[in-house]
């Protein structure tokens, strides 16, 4: 696999899995505004994953859906941070803040890439991520002196760069995420 395809898959997997986890707050966030916010952020992240998978799929001679749903859990390249189910609000916000910081740094590098397709898509994604960063910034401002939030930041920070394996939480998420697709015969067009 080319270096470009590997990189695209790494980012796409991060965005898909995080989008899935973020969507778990739909309907049960602490208040209505956050139901809407996390649902909207999840929708954006999965939209970014789709665009990145489409680019990778062209290089690899496959489809975006096949990359998103037909690989085995161990083949995903996402970081451990995005895999965890975090039913505690302060840990969800800590992940949001850590992920958006790391993603912003990654997008800055990609925007400066010599590869015009990657740079163009990164710039488009970055325009949307700007609103995720504002949301993260707002919540960081509210919680930054809360001990439980500060602990969550410390606990989760090392997981941002951990990509050499997976947490035990990825496999059950994968089961859930791919169940509809696996229930259909291979090659079904969606």
């Amino acid at each position: 696999m080319s270096e470009r395809a590997q990189l695209l898959l790494e980012i796409a997997d991060d965005e898909l899995i995080l989008g899935w986890r973020d969507s778990e707050w739909t309907g049960i966030a602490p208040f209505l505004e956050e139901d809407v916010a996390f649902s909207s952020i999840a929708q954006n992240e999965i939209g970014h994953a789709r665009a990145l998978y489409e680019l990778a799929a062209r290089d690899l001679g496959t489809t975006a859906d096949a990359l998103a749903f037909d690989r085995k859990p161990e083949e995903y390249r996402c970081c451990e941070l995005v895999e965890l189910r975090l039913p505690e609000w302060e840990r969800t916000i800590a992940r949001h803040v850590l992920y958006e910081q790391a993603d912003a740094e990654r997008l800055e590098l990609l925007k400066a890439s010599d590869d015009a397709e990657v740079a163009g898509l990164a710039a488009k994604i970055d325009r949307e991520e700007a609103y995720h960063r504002l949301h993260a910034e707002m919540w960081h401002g509210r919680l930054k002196d809360e001990p439980r939030y500060v602990e969550a930041l410390e606990e989760l920070r090392p997981l941002v760069d951990r990509r050499d394996g997976h947490t035990p939480e990825l496999a059950p998420l994968w089961e859930e995420m791919t169940s509809v697709r696996r229930s259909q015969p291979a090659g079904t067009v969606w």
Partner: protein, 161 residues
């Protein structure tokens, strides 16, 4: 033989599936139209990448072009050439009339929290600037929610991207 002008005219009748008061031409998402023999090539830039209306827009454009007797070829361009600054003045007016506050011009440094929380945004119902941010996120990826303290009306503000 179809002309470019006919294609633009046909595309101007394709409504935005989520905000049907505005057409995709008003929205500025049609970047280019080229005629190559019987084929009509359209470059289309999505607004937000997660927008579920993307496929609907693409299929409706193809239908309108086919109705002109040409073969449509709609290319989805995944770069950052679309910005809310591309919404036409007519498009902005149509949005305002329907209760959506049009996007503010894009600043080089992008959106800032302090700016969104300021009261520089105008209510599309009464014109007051005494409006407050309720939620950065709204019913679709492209909109935020604000509240007008003068006419006490919540309204949807187009995000600037």
């Amino acid at each position: 033989m179809v002309t470019e002008a006919q294609v633009w005219e046909a595309l101007a009748e394709v409504p935005d599936p989520e905000i049907p008061v505005i057409s995709i031409v008003d929205l500025g998402v049609v970047r280019d139209v080229r005629i190559e023999d019987e084929r009509v090539h359209v470059e289309f830039t999505p607004t937000f990448l997660g927008c579920p209306a993307l496929e609907v827009m693409r299929d409706q454009m193809a239908e309108r072009i086919a109705a002109l007797g040409a073969e449509p070829e709609v290319e989805v361009v995944l770069d950052d050439s679309w910005s809310t600054d591309r919404i036409t003045p007519e498009g902005r007016e149509k949005l305002r009339e329907s209760g959506f506050a049009p996007p503010t011009p894009r600043a080089p440094e992008g959106p800032q929290l302090v700016q969104l929380q300021s009261n520089g945004f105008r209510c599309p119902y009464c014109g007051s600037r005494d409006t407050a941010l309720e939620n950065i996120f709204g019913p679709t990826p492209c909109r935020s929610l604000r509240y007008c303290r003068d006419c006490r009306q919540p309204f949807e503000q187009f995000k600037t991207i």
